[in-house]
């Protein structure tokens, strides 16, 4: 089975990268190929990186409260570029009602504080869509 390629991204101005980095490392330890974008990425930069790196999953880490502006834009760009076979997983400070809304918009999973690495790794694995 091919190694799953995952992009872990920090969109927006938020520089708190502890969670994103721990998760990136856990995904690597679980046998996935992880590309970490670094900080202060725009939705455009993230989707372009996902395209160039040919990833199956994009993980977005947002703690700043800007998720309702950022995530829909990422989903929109994926549709525009016909990359809807790439799964999107979001983690951070996302209130329950916003999480529900994001899932309605096509986000595969939303992780709030206290989620275990094991749950997240499992979720990334199971979110991989078969190419169209």
């Amino acid at each position: 089975m091919d190694q799953i390629r995952v992009l872990v991204a920090k969109p927006g101005l938020d520089g708190h990268d502890r969670g994103a980095k721990v998760i990136a490392r856990a995904l690597r330890d679980a046998g996935m190929e992880v590309i970490y974008t670094g900080l202060r990425q725009t939705p455009e930069m993230i989707v372009n990186a996902a395209l160039q790196e040919d990833v199956r999953v994009i993980g977005l880490s947002i703690l700043s409260g800007a998720h309702n502006a950022i995530v829909p834009r990422v989903m929109e760009l994926l549709r525009e570029k016909q990359m809807t076979d790439v799964a999107v997983i979001v983690g951070g400070i996302i209130p329950d009602e916003d999480a529900r809304e994001l899932k309605k918009q096509g986000v595969a999973a939303v992780f709030q504080p206290g989620a275990s690495l094991e749950e997240i790794v499992r979720s990334v694995r199971s979110s991989v869509k078969q190419p169209a």
Partner: protein
């Protein structure tokens, strides 16, 4: 909270401690006397309580001004300003980078007009203000000084702090804009300006809090913070400022995490280490240079989403550690901060936590009441020794800037944070509500919601400001600033002129960016 038979930092904890564990140590120390292990004052809280300084800010300056008036009325004794991410990163509310971010993590400040609103009705000669701002610190400080000027208050009378600790941004918080050397020049400009013109102000708060929040151990937090302090002192001395003219205004900021005794040991070790560093490394003689003064914040990263009322207990224990460790100033987190900025109710309870400790627990009657404890004295010595080991390693690398460029502190932090998470995953470290004592279907709590209208409000204000102000004066001021930044003059007077002309945070930051360029980090996982 110990991980098995060690402290959270991994220092071994014996089953029992006795006189033999302190036999080799010098315990003949008095509070208020060099090297100040037991506190920087003879009487500590008997003479004066720590400042209850709750970090606060959200939405528009109008809303935040109302919260400040409320907190002051509830007994808070100093103000502490939280800015939003656009302000922290030097962007105006109407710039594309600010989309979705205005007013979310703190108050949106675009220009001097916003600072005037923020401090309306707050007399700056009587209220001290701490501002958590780093890359644009000089700009925001200039706005604060301009407001004081408008209030008719002499700069020699005002007191407060700007965080302005750029080194820890590269290490941990990541709110950098410019490259290290240019950033250090800006910090040194503010230290020089404060030394000459605003002598009661603390132009820097050398911080370990964020280093700890990024996942470091207590030992790393202490070591990297003090080594950053050494770096700032060296730059100020190289600028031509004798050590005793500025060192007394270097202030510090530490975390109060869960391992109760390790945290107290950390604060005691910090004071002893800094006194020795100032005297032996820098030749400082003035008592004020030798005394490490610090603010503490309880650990944000320890707060849980699950069973948020447990956070009240965590915060109380952490706050007690800071008080028993002799902090000068304290912020206690609110129970809902894993979810959102504090609701008014949660913010009030956080303040009450300090007031209960201060007035009901009796711990303020004696300085360093745990001094002489076999365990604590042994632990203080061990934390000091381990931290000194890190400082030596960074010295060997040529200082903190080469260490940062080599990724050393970042790598240590990434490793420590991964190990911490592993300990939670395996259950070695139990966290009530998260991986132990869990509850299904918890009751949701009421949260503060930041109105999206804050962004529109701030954007409209900026548009009106740009129409109203003297744009020739603004351009001239920014040109002059660029010239000064490209040379060796102190940039503060030029930033002040730009601020008085109502240049915006974004415009002034961009002018400096034109000269200094930007910094991109090499990510270390």
């Amino acid at each position: 909270m110990t991980k098995g038979p060690t402290t959270l930092s991994g220092l071994p904890v014996q089953p029992v401690y006795g006189p033999e564990d302190v036999a080799g140590l010098n315990l003949d120390e008095t509070p208020g006397e060099f090297p100040y292990t037991r506190g920087i004052h003879r009487d500590m809280y008997r003479g004066r309580l720590w400042t209850m300084r709750q970090f606060s800010g959200f939405g528009t300056p109008e809303e935040t001004n109302r919260r400040y008036q409320y907190l002051l009325a509830q007994g808070q004794t100093g103000l502490s300003v939280a800015f939003d991410l656009p302000t922290l990163m030097g962007y105006d509310a109407d710039q594309p980078e600010s989309l979705g971010e205005v007013g979310k993590c703190g108050v949106s400040i675009g220009s001097l007009e916003d600072m005037e609103t923020l401090f309306r009705g707050i007399p700056l000669e009587r209220v001290t203000v701490s501002m958590t701002i780093n890359s644009p610190a000089a700009i925001v400080w200039a706005m604060y000084l301009a407001v004081a000027e408008q209030q008719g208050v002499d700069w020699r009378q005002i007191s407060g702090t700007i965080q302005n600790d750029i080194l820890k941004e590269y290490i941990a918080q990541k709110e950098y804009i410019y490259p290290p050397h240019s950033s250090m020049r800006l910090v040194t400009d503010t230290i020089e300006f404060a030394t000459r013109q605003v002598p009661r102000f603390n132009p820097i708060s050398i911080s370990g809090y964020h280093i700890r929040e990024a996942g470091s151990t207590a030992v790393q937090e202490l070591a990297f913070t003090l080594r950053d302090g050494i770096e700032y002192a060296e730059w100020a001395v190289a600028r031509g400022l004798p050590i005793d003219t500025f060192a007394g205004r270097l202030s510090f900021f530490f975390n109060a995490h869960n391992d109760f005794f390790e945290e107290i040991a950390k604060y005691r070790a910090a004071r002893r280490m800094w006194a020795l560093i100032m005297r032996d490394r820098f030749g400082a003689r003035d008592e004020r240079s030798l005394k490490l003064r610090f603010h503490t914040q309880t650990a944000g990263c320890s707060l849980t989403w699950q069973q948020p009322y447990n956070n009240v207990v965590r915060t109380a224990i952490q706050a007690l550690a800071a008080v028993l460790g002799g902090t000068q100033s304290l912020h206690t987190n609110s129970l809902d901060e894993a979810y959102a900025l504090p609701s008014e109710h949660a913010a009030t309870l956080a303040l009450r936590t300090q007031q209960v400790i201060a007035y009901e627990s009796g711990v303020t009657a004696v300085p360093d009441p745990l001094g002489g404890s076999f365990f604590l004295e042994r632990l203080t010595a061990e934390v000091e020794e381990a931290a000194n080991g890190y400082i030596r390693r960074i010295d060997d690398m040529g200082g903190m800037i080469p260490a940062i460029e080599a990724g050393f502190p970042q790598r240590e932090i990434a490793q420590a944070s991964f190990e911490y998470q592993q300990a939670i995953e395996t259950g070695e470290l139990k966290i009530a509500g998260v991986n132990a004592f869990k509850v299904e279907n918890e009751e949701p709590i009421e949260l503060l919601a930041i109105d999206e209208s804050a962004a529109g409000h701030q954007v409209a204000k900026l548009a009106a400001l740009r129409r109203r102000r003297d744009s020739t004066r603004v351009s001239a001021a920014l040109d002059a600033l660029r010239r000064a930044a490209g040379g060796t003059e102190n940039t503060m007077p030029f930033i002040l002129e730009a601020v008085r002309a109502y240049a915006t945070v974004g415009e002034i930051t961009a002018a400096l960016r034109d000269v200094f360029g930007t910094y991109t980090e090499k990510s270390i996982l």
